[in-house]
């Protein structure tokens, strides 16, 4: 059995590196790199579709009074914007990064279940075609919020069943992808790649995959009950039939809270790769980071009703969920401290991946702190369903998850293409994004505190000024994002050739492979020496 005892060089294309050509390469893809690329391209397209909807929202909210949009259409924009971004952009982007990086990082030749991988991806274009088509049927698109509470959601027209079926399809894609991740990590790690030597990106994805398998079926159950209530005479959510609309909320948020950790845990992983690389110093407290991630995942199952503090929950319930929600701040804080300690007494340089990671660290922490405020129940009575909540979750999702995705792409793009991208343009993308994301979302804290509810197309005159600032920030942020696909496209076409290790301080098995890696990498497992050299700590 041959071990790769030497770092592969750029000329290392062996005779086994032929790949299929034409459309069959993509439609029949079983290669983790190709499937990863497809997920990322799909996520990028969804990001711009969801982003356009956000631009429409901010356009209508620029001034009080209704200038452009019918209120029903506005509600369908807020609903679809969230569905596109959560299920179309962020989750597929993480799955794309998982597909590209996990096999290379654990020394595996591919994902454990390649044909399942193909199926998982190809469900998505169909699911989203169905979802987007629902905008064009009589009655318009779904307009009950991405949370789809009954009875309102049951007032939907033809778009309602289309939305439900699209969500079922997306859920199946996520569950199958998650199974693939778990099986790959548990079974295909190279000998010597023990669990506690794995890069943190792999750890966070392992834990995320378990969360997905646990909660996506719960969402499927919730939306199926919506479907049967509407079409088959069940009364799960109707008091007259012995049901309860609040039960839907419990079931939805039992999915929904772990879901938001599904959106952010891989970000923690990416940032835990980038910061040590550009600090030239190993991650501080590797084991603590693993345990903190696992604690967050466990705790995420027992906080769900903090989305429901105003529904009329018994006092004991409100107290329990307040305390458990405050508790989840602890492991999250530990991670922030560990990243900061990694930088402390390091040797820092500020390439685009590091810029995005640092922006994440700063701005995600702000989002986390507003989350701590939201946990306090009596105060939450004033925050719930206002722009304060909107500000909170956009801070953790945009400069949180999205910036971490972008940072990850800027980190690994040279590995995927063999070319260094235009660093100057990437820094422009970074600065414009960071500045305008704050112009867009920070004022929304003020709006919420001043009393502006969410999901409204028009508002009282005293909310005008900060809405205008936010909208200007939104347009500028949105425009800046066009730099991103341009930079990537330009890099794919060509750039300064790089070797295996694109970044001086980078550690990990992926950096032992050529850039770009061969179509099939680690066909022979890496040696223990290579694993040691690649080990994060």
């Amino acid at each position: 059995m041959a071990y790769n005892d030497h770092a592969a060089t750029a000329h290392d294309h062996d005779a086994h590196d032929h790949k299929p050509h034409g459309w069959r390469r993509w439609v029949y893809a079983t290669n983790h790199k190709d499937i990863g690329t497809m997920y990322l391209v799909f996520a990028g397209i969804s990001f711009f579709i969801g982003g356009s909807m956000a631009m429409l929202i901010r356009l209508e909210l620029f001034k009080p009074g209704l200038q452009f949009l019918d209120p029903q259409f506005f509600n369908s924009m807020t609903t679809m914007h969230a569905l596109e971004m959560i299920f179309g952009a962020v989750m597929p982007a993480w799955t794309g990064l998982a597909n590209w990086m996990i096999p290379m990082q654990v020394g595996a030749p591919d994902m454990a279940l390649p044909r399942l991988n193909n199926f998982s991806f190809w469900i998505l274009p169909f699911a989203f075609t169905l979802l987007l088509a629902s905008l064009f049927v009589p009655g318009g698109g779904p307009a009950g919020g991405w949370t789809m509470y009954p009875p309102l959601m049951l007032q939907g027209g033809a778009s309602f069943p289309m939305t439900i079926f699209a969500i079922h399809m997306m859920g199946i894609s996520s569950i199958l992808g998650a199974i693939n991740v778990v099986v790959t990590i548990m079974n295909l790690r190279a000998p010597g790649m023990t669990l506690l030597r794995m890069p943190l990106f792999v750890w966070t994805w392992l834990i995320t995959a378990y969360l997905l398998i646990a909660v996506m079926p719960v969402l499927a159950g919730a939306v199926t009950m919506l479907l049967t209530d509407h079409f088959f005479g069940t009364t799960f959510f109707t008091a007259a039939g012995g049901g309860d609309p609040v039960m839907y909320q419990h079931i939805f948020w039992f999915f929904g809270h772990p879901e938001v950790y599904i959106l952010i845990l891989p970000a923690f992983g990416v940032v835990s790769e980038i910061i040590p690389t550009f600090s030239r110093k190993p991650l501080f407290g590797y084991e603590a980071m693993v345990y903190a991630t696992a604690s967050i995942a466990f705790l995420s199952f027992i906080v769900w009703a903090h989305h429901m503090f105003t529904v009329g929950m018994p006092l004991a319930g409100q107290l329990f969920f307040m305390l458990s929600t405050m508790l989840i701040a602890i492991p999250t804080g530990v991670k922030v401290f560990n990243w900061t300690a990694t930088m402390y007494k390091g040797s820092l340089s500020f390439e685009p991946p590091m810029l995005f990671a640092l922006s994440f660290l700063f701005l995600f922490t702000i989002g986390g702190l507003s989350g701590l405020m939201l946990a306090i129940v009596p105060a939450d009575y004033q925050y719930q369903d206002t722009y304060f909540v909107v500000a909170h979750f956009h801070y953790v999702l945009v400069p949180g998850a999205v910036f971490a995705i972008m940072g990850g792409v800027y980190y690994w793009l040279p590995k995927w293409t063999g070319n260094m991208y235009d660093l100057t343009l990437a820094k422009w993308h970074f600065w414009l994004s960071t500045i305008f994301v704050n112009v867009l979302f920070f004022p929304q804290h003020f709006l919420g505190l001043a009393g502006m509810p969410r999901r409204i197309p028009d508002y009282a005159v005293q909310f005008t000024d900060w809405n205008q600032v936010s909208s200007i920030g939104g347009f500028a942020f949105g425009l800046s994002q066009f730099l991103f696909p341009y930079i990537i496209w330009k890099c794919v076409r060509g750039g300064v050739r790089i070797g295996n290790r694109a970044w001086e301080g980078a550690h990990g098995l992926e950096w032992e492979l050529p850039s770009p890696p061969p179509f099939h990498s680690w066909t022979d497992p890496p040696s223990d020496a290579l694993i040691q050299r690649g080990s994060a700590h």
Binding site: G65, L66, Q67, D70, P71, Q72, L152, D244, P245, V246, K281, P282, F284, Y286, V311, G312, L315, Q318, M322, I330, G333, V336, T340, A341, M343, Y344, K345, G346, S347, L348, S349, E351, T365, I366, M373, I376, V377, P378, Y381, D385, T386, K427, W428, I435, F446, L447, L449, A450, I456, D458, Y459, V461, Q462, F463, T464, D465, W466, I498, W503, E504
Partner: protein, 295 residues
């Protein structure tokens, strides 16, 4: 071969001056501040009840705690960014990867802080759920798209909808300048009238979909759920009669943003007088059976 690329100072300077020009241009497009100007609206209201003030206090406590945490964490972060730059010749201390003592401290200290803040939070929460000894009960029903108020045991029942001036102005392409409409989107045709200095209980429910009854000045928000009845209470300071405005706080369809709440808080005597007038209007003494209140 991307070794240490640092922030290009000249590029930063050019970017800052250009963005300053863009910002100046953008700001010039904004309307000038006026009486209703929102620039000063930065914080939650303290409200006009003891509970709303307690809530405000909790909010400020958590806010300053978060500021303190942010100052410390970002302080270390920015210090590191400044002092440990490779371009400044920093050599990484690759042995600084572990410290059980520090890990324990920064796990325990937050736990202690959170337990400390949980105590006042729980105390206030328990008080908000104390619905005993109320002296007036009003059933609040949310519907698409307005509110119905019924003074239980008093025979007064009426609907409260967005006032007609706001409703005309908010139509798509109405051409009306909404800044000329008084209390645009925060005005109703018939406000809820309540006494000050009295514990008022509201029973909140709905007719169709979930709504939510929210008056920031009282610190009260309660979801209105069809088929179920939620309870909340408020006790407005005796010296604070006046009009208090709120909104529906749960997406309820097309006109979710157009079903505000107005509470007219009056002295106890004025309230009793109003109640009598209302009862007479809705149940005229001329012997015929009472008719339901006109919407």
């Amino acid at each position: 071969m991307a070794a240490g690329h640092e922030i290009d100072i000249n590029m930063m300077r050019k970017f800052l001056s250009r963005s300053a020009m863009v910002a100046a241009l953008a700001l010039s497009l904004l309307p000038a501040a006026h009486a209703d100007s929102g620039w000063g609206q930065l914080n939650m209201t303290q409200g006009v009840t003891a509970m709303s003030r307690q809530i405000y206090g909790l909010h400020m406590l958590m806010f300053w705690l978060c500021v303190a945490i942010a100052v410390v964490v970002f302080g270390v972060m920015f210090y590191s960014i400044f002092a440990f730059r490779k371009s400044r010749g920093a050599i990484p201390d690759t042995t600084l990867v572990h410290s059980t003592t520090v890990e324990i401290i920064w796990t325990l200290l937050p736990i202690i802080i959170l337990v400390a803040t949980a105590v006042p939070a729980a105390t206030t929460l328990i008080k908000t759920e104390d619905l005993r000894n109320s002296q007036l009960t009003i059933r609040v029903t949310g519907f698409q798209w307005g509110w119905n108020y019924e003074y239980l045991n008093n025979g007064v029942n009426f609907f409260s909808r967005l006032d007609r001036a706001s409703d005309a102005a908010r139509q798509l392409g109405s051409g009306v300048d909404v800044t000329t409409v008084p209390h645009y989107l925060l005005n109703v045709d018939r406000p809820l009238v309540v006494p000050v200095g009295m514990k008022v209980r509201v029973l909140v429910t709905a007719n169709d979909v979930i709504h939510s009854w929210w008056v920031p000045a009282f610190g009260v928000k309660k979801d209105a759920i069809p088929g179920f009845v939620n309870e909340a209470w408020f006790d407005i300071d005796s010296d604070k009669p006046g009009l208090y405005r709120g909104n529906c706080a749960e997406l309820c369809g097309r006109d979710h943003g157009f079903m505000p709440i107005v509470v007219d808080a009056r002295s106890k005597q004025d309230f009793q007088a109003w109640l009598k007038t209302e009862q007479l209007a809705e149940h005229p003494p001329a012997a015929t059976a009472s008719a339901p209140a006109a919407p």
